[in-house]
């Protein structure tokens, strides 16, 4: 089944099964605004992030050296663009595009943005996310495992890493970032409350249905030959 990318635009189609459903979060809502922004606008920010990684965590690239020069399609399912990570030995790059077209990736990694950042920073366990199906991987599994192990071992702190490049502006930028994070957390809590309220009637109906089915199943088991009878 093919469904339209929820942000519209038509340039990107997703297969429901290949994309974990994006959670209702401020990221998802921000994506509505970002769909109007050409991915090229993100180039400077991604360049800064990559420079910080190279400067602060050279061990990541050393651990990946034996794989050759893999490339990854990183797909935050709650944003209207994908990230293209090319680990070329001399000059690894991170860029954004509106879709995967024309990019031959060694492997693809899909998940909500906060899950992907949690993985990058080692705050979330990749295997657990895979077991729960919150993370989807395709292509060369060895390249994915190597990348996961390399970044997990690097003790990445995205905010600190980027701020480290700002020199004297790092202090004010950290204050601003702290405010933004607090706002984000509040918005995330509000959205979770909203989500719970919206699905509550459906959950109540589902629970009642399950209880009724359990009751009927118990009755059938008791009536079956050899079944327990009271």
């Amino acid at each position: 089944m093919v469904s339209a990318w929820p942000f519209g635009g038509g340039e990107r189609k997703i297969t429901g099964s290949k994309h974990p459903a994006p959670p209702l979060s401020p990221i998802l809502l921000a994506g509505f605004g970002l769909r109007l922004v050409p991915p090229a606008v993100l180039r400077p920010a991604l360049g800064v992030a990559m420079a910080a990684m190279k400067r602060r965590h050279p061990g990541v690239f050393a651990r990946l050296a034996e794989l050759g020069e893999p490339s990854y399609l990183i797909d935050p399912v709650d944003l209207p663009f994908v990230l293209l990570l090319r680990l070329e030995r001399e000059a690894p790059t991170l860029t954004a595009a509106s879709g995967p077209e024309g990019f031959e990736a060694t492997a693809t990694i899909r998940g909500p943005l906060l899950v992907l950042i949690g993985l990058l920073e080692g705050r979330l366990d990749g295997d657990a996310l895979f077991f729960s199906r919150d993370l989807v991987i395709e292509g060369n599994t060895e390249a994915v495992v190597a990348l996961r192990n390399a970044v997990d071992g690097a003790e990445v702190d995205l905010l600190s890493d980027v701020l480290s490049l700002l020199g004297p502006f790092a202090g004010p930028a950290r204050l601003a970032a702290g405010g933004a994070i607090a706002l984000f957390s509040r918005a995330a809590e509000d959205l979770e409350t909203l989500r719970t309220a919206i699905i509550a009637p459906a959950m109540r109906r589902a629970d009642a249905g399950i209880r009724q089915l359990d009751k009927e199943l118990g009755a059938l088991k008791r009536q079956a030959p050899g079944g327990r009878r009271r």
């Binding site: 657990a128 077991f131 395709e138 071992g153």
Partner: protein, 329 residues
């Protein structure tokens, strides 16, 4: 208060080592970045320099380092395994974990003061086998295969002259550790010789409609329905069609969790408990080691373990006490 169980924890990277020590590990086990250890995965494990730094960090915090050199050396190519033993001794390891008899002999002759533990890969599960390793190679501790009941462990402990260590959390093998060749039938690579079971280089995942298909080589290992928790793509945890019925032939995808059995393990004479998962990230290490630290300390005081839910980090999101409470013959 009785002596607490020693908590032995996994580390696949220096960051995971620090996470384990910070979360309360008594000792951390790890391997070199090659086929000399049974978790030879891409991007994982320690360089010589990282081991030296990691050992210093652990020792500064009162923890010990065990180096797993627990694969079976390749005929005619003993050098990497001998070098691993020599380097572990030189770089500050407190013990080495061995499986191969020849390597145990090499370590005993060349590094008599370096403590030797018998890896689970040696599959020593009876009194005679353990006495042999102790007599011939002065093995001080045996990591028991995950095949014994608590009663059998207690009976064994009463008769062997060494400490025993048992797994209490993490992935489970099909009770043929050190002798399992399932992975090599399909991939040519096995945990025993190469340090990798179902190596990632041979694994593929495919999304098919709403289903997730896991493949090892050209063989479908499992098909997970929409929303069903997934497991590792190992043959032993495969779901196959036999006589028209789909089932897990060998073993369901589930993780061992014996956190509720620590008082029984203490009563059975176990010295150390081990958490599996050198291939897991530092988030897993922090969470699981922290939970077991609290449970071990509570058990030593005779108190109940604090409630904790580790279900999210278990394979297939399912848990079992495995053979410790064996309900089959």
């Amino acid at each position: 208060m009785t002596a607490p169980l020693e908590l032995v924890c996994p580390a696949g990277t220096p960051a995971a080592l620090r996470a384990a020590v910070d979360a309360g590990a008594d000792s951390v086990y790890l391997g070199f970045r090659d086929a000399t250890n049974a978790r030879n995965f891409p991007g994982l494990n320690f360089s010589r320099g990282e081991l030296k730094q990691g050992a210093a960090y652990a020792h500064d915090h009162g923890a010990e380092i065990f180096v797993a050199i627990n694969t079976y050396p390749e005929a005619g190519n003993l050098d990497p395994w001998h070098r691993a033993v020599d380097d572990a001794a030189a770089l500050g390891a407190d013990a080495i974990l061995l499986a191969d008899i020849g390597l145990a002999d090499y370590a005993a002759r060349n590094h008599p003061d370096l403590r030797r533990h018998l890896s689970v890969q040696a599959s020593a599960s009876n009194v005679e086998a353990i006495r042999f390793y102790h007599r011939e190679f002065a093995i001080k501790r045996v990591v028991l295969p995950r095949v014994l009941t608590i009663g059998e462990i207690a009976a064994l402990n009463a008769q062997v002259p060494v400490e025993t260590e048992i797994f209490v959390f993490g992935g489970l093998c099909v009770m043929a550790e050190g002798r399992c060749a399932l992975s090599s039938y399909i991939t040519g690579v096995s945990p025993n010789k190469d340090g990798a079971c179902s190596p990632a280089s041979h694994v593929r995942y495919e999304e098919r409609g709403d289903e997730l298909v896991s493949k090892l080589g050209d063989h479908t290992i499992n098909v997970f329905a929409s929303g069903e928790a997934a497991g590792y793509p190992t043959l032993c945890k495969g779901r196959f069609v036999t006589r028209g019925r789909v089932s897990y032939l060998f073993e369901d995808p589930a993780s061992l969790n014996a956190i509720g059995m620590l008082p029984e393990l203490m009563a059975a004479g176990v010295t150390a408990i081990k958490i599996e998962g050198r291939q897991r990230g530092k988030a897993y290490v922090s969470m699981v080691v922290g939970a077991f630290r609290r449970a071990v300390d509570a058990a030593a005081k005779g108190e109940a373990a604090p409630p904790v839910d580790l279900g999210a980090v278990t394979e297939g999101q399912r848990q079992t006490t495995g053979a410790y409470r064996k309900a089959w013959q």
